[in-house]
């Protein structure tokens, strides 16, 4: 603890115990506690207590006060807990006497969570544990949760003390505390009150999750029968917690893969749990590394059941391969599908999400039924858009239930997108693309559904196999693209900005990957999509304008203007002009940021319009960006400047220690010429101004740029020839700081700029800027000062942030 804080602490403690003194802000005590944690980690807690008797006074005083705020009381108890974690402090503070003298509250409980020696102290355990049992049912989630955690902690600590060498399977010789807790858990498991069962299961789950000592095996042996009994009840109580427990035990390394009784219980759970809970259990089992194959098969069947039922209800025999052919439907699952719209949607969404999660995992079941799953996803989507043909009464019911169900549509589209990662027969790929196209076409599709449909389509297109035939893309893709662009045209004109934006994002992504593919280019240019994207540069919604900027920028990078148009070159030129107009005139930040990103990309990739007169381009852009009020535009401006620097002076040095050091490439042009070019485009002016920007990220980026520049120049021999500093030159950068330099300097001399660069303590500035903008205000000293200053200042009734 530094001296200043030591000096302030007694006064602060006095404020805390004075009920008349308010505490400034509800975050202050939390931050103070954080500070105590840091301090006690760094130095001896006992010494701290001895050197600051005010702390001991605070802790003993708070317990005597009647009208102390719960906040301060809770804080004090937690501070006591932090110190009591050390045995010597525990004795020093005589913490035992503090415990349980206060009514309820999680913070007080935390006191117990640290010290193992607490349990060895004779008095508190039996009464304390009873109190914690009762707090498990507290109406506060935080207290209840803390009580449960604490019981686990006490159990683990007492077991660690009692069974060091060998696991005592009988439990008779377990420590009293552990026996008491176990007795409580056993009793709760047999209770008919569901919350009690839940509490017991949660304690066990936390125990098996946290403790991997051999005694946990003995614990399971003792309790598994009671847990198994839960599965016999109808309905099964606390099913969600039961699933968590079973999975947690199954994951615990303490239990070998040969634990037959556990797997039997899991198998039983799979067959008797309701559809809402069996899915997570099945998924959890399939994610296990070691588990009997029969159980995996059973779990996978459980996961597939709902989709199998959907397929069966809609596929005409003899149709394509189904899922789980020849197996009877699970009655409970069919009931859930038919019971109500929300139950059906819930079950299907969960199933699809579970399978989506499983699909990319290495431990997913093999063989993976890719084709039937794809068929099922397509069928679910068809049921949602009303185009499925039911072949049974269940199918008819599903048609009615799922028609227009956005929730299921979204889940199915996510799953369908994920399935693109596997190999599927061409026929099914065509079907998947067809259903996606339907979804994109459907006038009833909601914006969120369309977004997912675009994402899934993108995934399918990008993963579609390329053939060796004359066509660039797969044989069916060109036709698909033609239809797709017709839909895209429609969606780009949607009245919903969300849809227009998703369509533009899709266009950008697709052209980024396929801009060079002849089929794609041909289909795109035959459509009105490029023109519509262009028109959206004027969209009333700024998000859409920004996406339109990115999309048109991307299309332009690939030269995707109508090649037959005589205005081809004119169009390209006018795009540059249009983007410059947006950069200087758009009232909102997003489009301007997007323009800067496009320009940076163009400069980096050598876009034709940029290379025509790069210096002029950079000069214009930097001039506009330097005036921008949006900090990200200015940061982007510096990024563009950095690219230009790299192109003028050579790329940045790589510092990879394993890279083979190549001889320095010869600089593109002589230093003086290069510097003159930098001066000409106003780069120095922009960078120096940005160095003193009120927005920290801008200043930091500029500092990095100038450091790079300085290092780069240092590699030129001519640096030594630079003229020596003069006072006027040294003073120049500070003019930017004082904002006197409002007009860019056109005719800076490279030598003067170099001298200015050398006069700056860029390293010092860099380390200052690397600090958080509030590092002074958030220091412990500042916190203590603030808390002291608040006393007496604030009046009531001003709770006011907004």
């Amino acid at each position: 603890m530094d001296l200043e804080c030591s000096r302030l602490l007694p006064a602060l403690c006095a404020v805390l115990v004075d009920p008349r003194q308010p505490v400034a802000d509800d975050t202050c005590l939390e931050k103070l506690l954080d500070w105590f944690k840091t301090v006690t980690e760094g130095e001896s807690s006992l010494l701290l207590l001895q050197e600051h008797p005010c702390l001991v006074e605070l802790l003993s005083h708070v317990l005597k006060l009647q009208d102390l705020s719960p906040g301060v009381l809770s804080f004090s108890l937690r501070v006591a807990g932090i110190f009591a974690a050390q045995e010597n402090c525990f004795q020093y503070l005589q913490v035992g006497s503090l415990l349980f003298s206060q009514p309820g509250g999680a913070p007080g409980l935390r006191l117990l969570s640290a010290p193992p020696f607490f349990l060895s102290s004779p008095a508190p355990c039996p009464g304390a544990v009873d109190t914690i049992f009762s707090l498990q049912g507290d109406s506060s989630l935080f207290v209840a949760s803390a009580a449960s955690q604490l019981l686990v902690h006490i159990l683990a600590l007492s077991m660690r003390g009692g069974a060091k060498e060998q696991p005592c399977l009988q439990g008779d010789d377990w420590p009293t505390c552990a026996q008491k807790i176990m007795g409580h858990v056993e009793e709760s498991l047999c209770s008919t009150v569901t919350p009690k069962v839940t509490q017991a299961l949660n304690i066990l789950t936390t125990t098996f999750g946290r403790c991997q000592s051999p005694w946990t095996e003995a614990l399971w042996v003792r309790l598994s029968a009671s847990v198994a009994c839960l599965l016999e009840r109808d309905p099964i109580p606390a099913a969600h917690s039961l699933v968590d427990l079973l999975l947690c035990v199954a994951r615990s390394p303490v239990f070998g893969s040969s634990n037959g009784s556990l797997w039997e219980m899991v198998a039983q759970a799979l067959s008797c749990l309701g559809p809402a809970h069996v899915g997570p259990l099945a998924l959890g089992i399939l994610k296990l590394e070691h588990c009997p194959q029969a159980l995996r098969t059973q779990a996978f069947q459980v996961l597939l059941q709902p989709l199998a039922c959907v397929l069966k209800a809609t596929v005409q025999a003899p149709g394509p391969l189904g899922l789980l052919d020849g197996m009877a439907d699970d009655a409970m699952m069919v009931d859930a599908l038919l019971a109500s719209k929300s139950s059906c949607a819930g079950l299907l969404c969960r199933t699809l999400a579970h399978l989506e999660e499983l699909q990319p995992l290495p431990q997913r079941p093999s063989p993976w039924p890719q084709a039937p799953l794809l068929g099922a996803a397509v069928t679910v989507l068809r049921l949602c858009d009303g185009s499925a043909t039911p072949v049974s009464s269940v199918g008819g019911h599903l048609c009615a239930t799922l028609a227009g169900c956005v929730r299921v549509q979204r889940a199915a589209l996510d799953f369908l997108g994920m399935l693109s990662q596997g190999t599927s027969p061409q026929e099914l790929v065509t079907q998947a693309l067809a259903v996606l196209l339907e979804c994109l076409k459907s006038p009833g599709s909601s914006p969120t559904v369309l977004k997912k449909a675009f994402q899934a389509t993108l995934r399918w297109l990008l993963s579609s196999p390329k053939t060796s035939s004359c066509s660039d893309l797969g044989p069916h893709i060109p036709q698909f693209l033609r239809e797709l662009f017709l839909v895209l045209q429609k969606r780009l004109c949607s009245p919903c900005w969300e849809v227009r934006d998703s369509a533009l994002e899709f266009l950008t992504q697709l052209s980024r990957h396929w801009g060079g593919e002849a089929d794609f280019r041909c289909a795109l240019l035959a459509s009105e999509v490029p023109e519509l994207a262009w028109q959206l540069l004027q969209d009333p919604e700024s998000y859409v304008r920004a996406s339109a900027v990115t999309a048109t920028g991307q299309l332009s990078s690939w030269g995707l203007h109508d090649p037959t148009s005589p205005q081809h070159a004119v169009a390209r030129q006018s795009l540059l002009r249009e983007l410059l107009r947006i950069l200087s005139a758009d009232s909102e930040g997003f489009p301007r940021r997007a323009v800067m990103q496009v320009f940076t990309e163009w400069l980096r990739d050598g876009h034709a319009d940029v290379t025509r007169d790069t210096e002029q381009f950079v000069a214009t852009v930097l001039q506009v960006a330097s005036r921008d009020l949006d900090w990200e535009v200015r940061v982007q401006g510096l990024e563009l400047a950095l690219v230009f620097l790299g192109q003028t002076l050579g790329p940045p040095h790589t510092h990879c220690p394993y890279a083979v050091a190549l001889p320095e490439a010869a600089p593109a042009r002589p230093l003086t010429e290069a510097l003159r070019a930098l001066c000409h485009v106003g780069l120095f002016d922009f960078a120096f101004r940005a160095l003193f920007d009120c927005d920290r990220p801008v200043a930091q980026k500029s500092c990095d740029l100038l450091l790079f520049l300085r290092d780069k120049i240092a590699s030129y021999n001519s640096l030594r020839e630079a003229s020596p500093n003069t006072d006027s030159v040294e003073a120049a950068p500070w003019r930017w700081r004082a904002h006197e330099q409002t007009q860019p300097q056109e005719d800076q001399e490279p030598e003067a700029v170099l001298a200015m660069l050398r006069s700056l303590d860029l390293e010092g500035l860099q380390s200052t800027l690397a600090e958080s903008s509030d590092h002074v205000e958030k220091s412990p000293q500042s916190l203590l000062q603030d808390m002291l200053a608040t006393g007496g200042f604030l009046q009531g009734d001003e709770a006011d942030c907004y």
């Binding site: 505490v23 975050t27 989630l141 109500s340 990200e632 927005d695 903008s773 603030d786 200053a789």
Partner: protein, 606 residues
């Protein structure tokens, strides 16, 4: 039904002075549906604590499966700041409901806050601009008083809340159960917004903020006058006024105030707005004119209040200009950026003034100067001496105790749940509500669950056929007067319907069974059975004048479907037994006849 706050209900420390800009986040479970109300952030923390602890709901499985929807009441960050984190990082993929202005304005404030987070280094785990956009694309914007069907069972409806542009109260309804969540609201109109209003929707539960639970607030006009006086005095003596604000909200309100004052007083001192967001913010205020108060709406045709004549965009070079000026600069708590830069320049001059129009969290320069600190440590161990005047003016627009009572009176809920308040004051209000309005009231602490039982009512449809039958009896329906209607209740496709028994049989494909009740009545009568039957006939004929009473040739008597036969038990010749039998349709008449006959036959006939 139960509600759980797993973020901070904005409740204050005991003693009356603790202030909090906590996270509003309430989970309501109603008839099996789970709805999250608001998703706020805490600006006082830089770590995970700034967001609500969602682990309490993620432990229930996948968020999108567990939650049916999220509702955001208004654009303030303590109500919506955690939304992109929740939807794009924690993984909620379901619908988010808010009003149109809130949807338009939310991203501006989220971007504003993102910048602050970027400024503070080490701010990992923070959302990006793309995430903000993706989050906003999940939003379903709603109109006031529009009933929005979230799914087949869950519907929501927005009501005007005042407070800030686009703020709304929401009614959430599942079947016959409903909850109203007020968010922050204001029951008195202010300079640019109207007063909150809700209809008599009689929800099971009203969740209301209670920031000013015990206060009757002074008129906002007084605070406004005070503000204008201070600004005017400062510029008159040649000083500069700095007003740190967040990009949107309070800034626009104060701009209207100054603009009108400048116009009236014909002042020439420049007013600047430094954020670069002025145009955008004002654009939204113009766009959502219907959400402002009556006065602004009325004068809109002649002059739009948000088109400012005197307020110009600020360039950072202006800060060094000599002479007086007024500058609105972001951010609002003087913790970084332009407002802090200007503050540093102007702090040393006692002629200048800084007006803080909102609360500042600890860890900001704003907090320091508001708590009276005058020597501030700055970067690089520099010390800044604050000589300029520092003023704090609360312009917050929350309902006071009177307003809260008024709203409870308007909505007539079964129960009230108080959130967003200081425990002691909430206790006072709770008693007031319980005593004066006779409504049960709860005030859960953060993380506490309140469970309210509700009486279940099941809607039942009535078939047209049955209604026609009833009409055919000539009884016209009367409003407000309950009527007894007989029919058969059938449950089909999870729906209840009351239909005629014939229709029920037909729909359910059942064969009809006849059910007859029989009863024996013993009579003292020494005559023969035929005579007894005749006496019964005469007796009934005289009493039941409206019914068809017949004496059949076989000696039995019928009244409608009721059949009465007399028999003589062999063991007692002085007693006759009447066998009475009737169909269940005539049960009422059957019971009546039985009880009549049990009284015996009249003497005159004997």
């Amino acid at each position: 039904m139960c509600g759980t706050g797993f973020g901070h209900f904005r409740w204050l420390a005991e003693g009356g002075a603790g202030q909090d800009v906590g996270r509003s986040c309430i989970l309501v479970s109603i008839a099996g549906k789970n709805v999250m109300l608001d998703c706020g952030m805490h600006m006082g923390f830089n770590d995970d604590r700034r967001f609500p602890d969602f682990s309490y709901i993620t432990q229930n499985g996948r968020l999108t499966d567990f939650l049916d929807c999220v509702i955001i009441s208004h654009f303030h960050l303590d109500h919506c700041g955690a939304l992109p984190y929740f939807s794009e990082m924690v993984g909620y993929d379901g619908p988010i409901y808010m009003t149109h202005p809130t949807q338009a304005i939310c991203p501006i404030l989220l971007e504003d806050y993102r910048k602050i987070a970027v400024d503070k280094k080490g701010e990992a785990n923070f959302f990006t601009s793309q995430m903000i956009k993706d989050c906003m694309k999940k939003v379903v914007a709603v109109h006031l008083h529009q009933t929005v069907q979230v799914d087949d069972e869950l519907e929501i409806k927005a009501y005007y809340a005042g407070h800030v542009l686009g703020a709304a109260m929401f009614q959430i309804k599942v079947g016959s159960e409903s909850v109203v969540y007020t968010g922050d609201y204001n029951m008195t109109p202010d300079r640019h917004l109207g007063a909150a209003w809700i209809d008599k929707c009689r929800p099971n539960l009203l969740i209301t903020e209670s920031t000013y639970a015990t206060t009757i607030r002074d008129s906002k006009r007084c605070r406004e006058r005070d503000f204008l006086k201070k600004v005017h005095e400062t510029v008159e003596r040649g000083g500069k006024v700095l007003i740190p604000v967040f990009a949107l909200g309070r800034a626009q309100e104060l701009c209207i105030l100054l603009e009108t004052f400048w116009e009236r007083m014909n002042l020439k001192v420049p007013i600047y707005f430094s954020t670069g967001l002025t145009e955008k913010a004002n654009h939204y205020y113009k766009l959502f004119i219907p959400w402002t108060n009556q006065k602004i709406r009325k004068t809109f045709v002649q002059r739009n209040m948000f088109e400012f004549k005197h307020i110009k965009a600020f360039d950072r070079a202006f800060a060094d200009n000599p002479g007086p000026m007024v500058v609105f600069a972001t951010p609002g708590m003087l913790h970084a950026g332009q407002s802090l830069q200007i503050f540093r320049k102007w702090a040393g001059n006692e002629k200048n003034m800084v007006i803080m129009p909102g609360y500042c969290v600890q860890g900001t320069v704003g907090h320091k100067i508001l708590s009276g600190q005058r020597k501030l440590e700055m970067e690089g161990r520099q010390v800044l001496e604050v000589k300029m005047q520092v003023e704090y003016m609360s312009f917050s627009a929350h309902a006071d105790a009177k307003g809260i009572m008024q709203l409870v009176g308007q909505a007539e809920p079964e129960s009230v749940l108080l959130v967003h308040g200081e425990a002691k004051k909430m206790e006072f209000l709770k008693q007031k509500i319980e005593q004066e309005l006779r409504v049960s009231c709860y005030m859960p602490a953060n993380g506490e669950t309140v469970t309210l039982p509700t009486s279940l009512s099941i809607p039942v449809g009535i078939s047209l056929g049955l209604l026609k039958q009833e009409m055919a009896q000539g009884l016209l329906p009367e409003a407000k007067k309950p009527r007894l209607l007989h029919g058969t209740l059938i449950m089909k496709d999870s729906n209840f319907r009351l239909v005629s028994s014939e229709q029920a049989l037909k729909e359910l494909g059942l064969a009809e069974h006849q059910l007859r009740f029989t009863c024996r009545v013993h009579l003292h009568d020494t005559r023969k059975e035929q005579e007894t039957a005749l006496r019964v006939y005469s007796h009934l004929k005289s009493i039941l004048k409206d019914h068809c009473v017949q004496h059949l040739p076989d000696g039995s008597v019928t009244v409608e479907s009721i059949l009465i036969q007399a028999a003589a038990p062999s063991e007692d010749p002085g007693t006759k037994v009447l066998l009475v039998s009737w169909t269940y349709q005539d049960e009422e008449l059957g019971s009546f006849l039985t009880s009549l006959l049990k009284k015996g036959l009249p003497q005159a006939l004997s």
